[in-house]
């Protein structure tokens, strides 16, 4: 016959915040990379003002809609963080799905914009334009992958109000990439 001890030891907590801290440092690295590309773009543009974007025009409709999609995505992903912290799993899946749709819309609009601009790599601005916008495209695609992975793990029951770190980390990475797009939007699309 087993005897139940008078004092029950405290339950073992899952590890917390490591993923958030890791994502924070990765986001900083991504930001530094993106900022260095934007800096190269600005330096090159300042040196070649007379030939910069003389053969192509960049429409503003797509960049503005991309920005709107990303901001909506930020609202949706924050809704997912709120929902998972309250064990509202249905809402969390819906919010993560909406964020994924916004990311897909952004990626679709980027490729459409590239076709509309029709810039070639042989032009002076070509490599810099594609390096900056392509890197942003790649990071949003990564953020989409991160969100889908975390949604899949949440679906498997790994994330809940007790351990919401994965969803929060994906949201943090998303927000950083939205902020980085704001810099690209201003430097490349607005201040032509």
């Amino acid at each position: 016959m087993s005897i139940i001890p008078a004092s029950v030891p405290a339950p073992v907590l899952p590890r917390r915040r490591q993923l958030l801290f890791g994502t924070m440092f990765v986001s900083a690295a991504v930001a530094m990379f993106e900022f260095s590309l934007v800096a190269s773009y600005l330096a090159e543009r300042a040196g070649k003002r007379n030939v910069w974007l003389t053969e192509n025009s960049i429409p503003l409709t797509q960049p503005n809609m991309q920005f709107a999609a990303l901001i909506l995505g930020s609202i949706f992903v924050q809704w997912a963080v709120w929902a998972i912290a309250r064990n509202e799993r249905g809402q969390a899946y819906l919010a993560l799905g909406c964020t994924a749709v916004m990311a897909a819309a952004f990626l679709n609009q980027t490729t459409f914009l590239w076709q509309r601009v029709g810039m070639t790599m042989a032009q002076a601005e070509g490599p810099f334009f594609y390096a900056v916008t392509g890197a942003n495209f790649a990071f949003i695609a990564l953020a989409l992958g991160f969100i889908l992975l975390m949604a899949f793990r949440a679906l498997g029951g790994q994330y809940s109000a007790r351990l919401p770190d994965g969803i929060s980390a994906a949201a943090l990475f998303w927000h950083v990439n939205v902020a980085l797009y704001a810099v690209v939007w201003l430097a490349v699309y607005i201040m032509k």
Binding site: V12, L20, M32, S36
Partner: protein
């Protein structure tokens, strides 16, 4: 208020921000015919305002160096704020969140994605 870990990042942010401003003023002066000449001449206000307004009013000199120093300041500030918000991952703060008096043991990692 500020945790020990976050102070390092706030310090880095301050140093790189000051570095960016100085770098902007000096390289802008070098491109405009000399630092002393620029700072004591008619372009003194623009030479200082340029880096302070991130190039909106006046030049920032070397774009790449200025942008990288400024980016480093922004990233360090963000990490400092994050580190402070999560209390440096302090286990006591986690115990407080879990409504426990003592700090409970933490489960060991058993795979790469635990």
């Amino acid at each position: 208020m500020f945790t020990r870990g976050s102070r390092l990042f706030f310090g880095l942010a301050t140093a790189s921000l000051l570095g960016a401003m100085l770098y902007g003023i000096i390289t802008n002066g070098l491109q405009s015919g000399g630092v002393i000449e620029t700072l004591t001449g008619k372009g003194a206000v623009d030479a200082v305002l340029g880096p302070l307004t991130l190039g909106y009013k006046g030049g920032v000199g070397d774009h790449i160096g200025f942008s990288l120093l400024l980016a480093f300041a922004v990233c360090s500030l963000a990490i400092g704020i994050g580190s402070s918000a999560f209390r440096d991952g302090d286990p006591e703060a986690i115990a407080e969140l879990a409504n426990l008096d003592a700090v409970p043991p933490v489960s060991e990692p058993n795979d790469l994605s635990a």
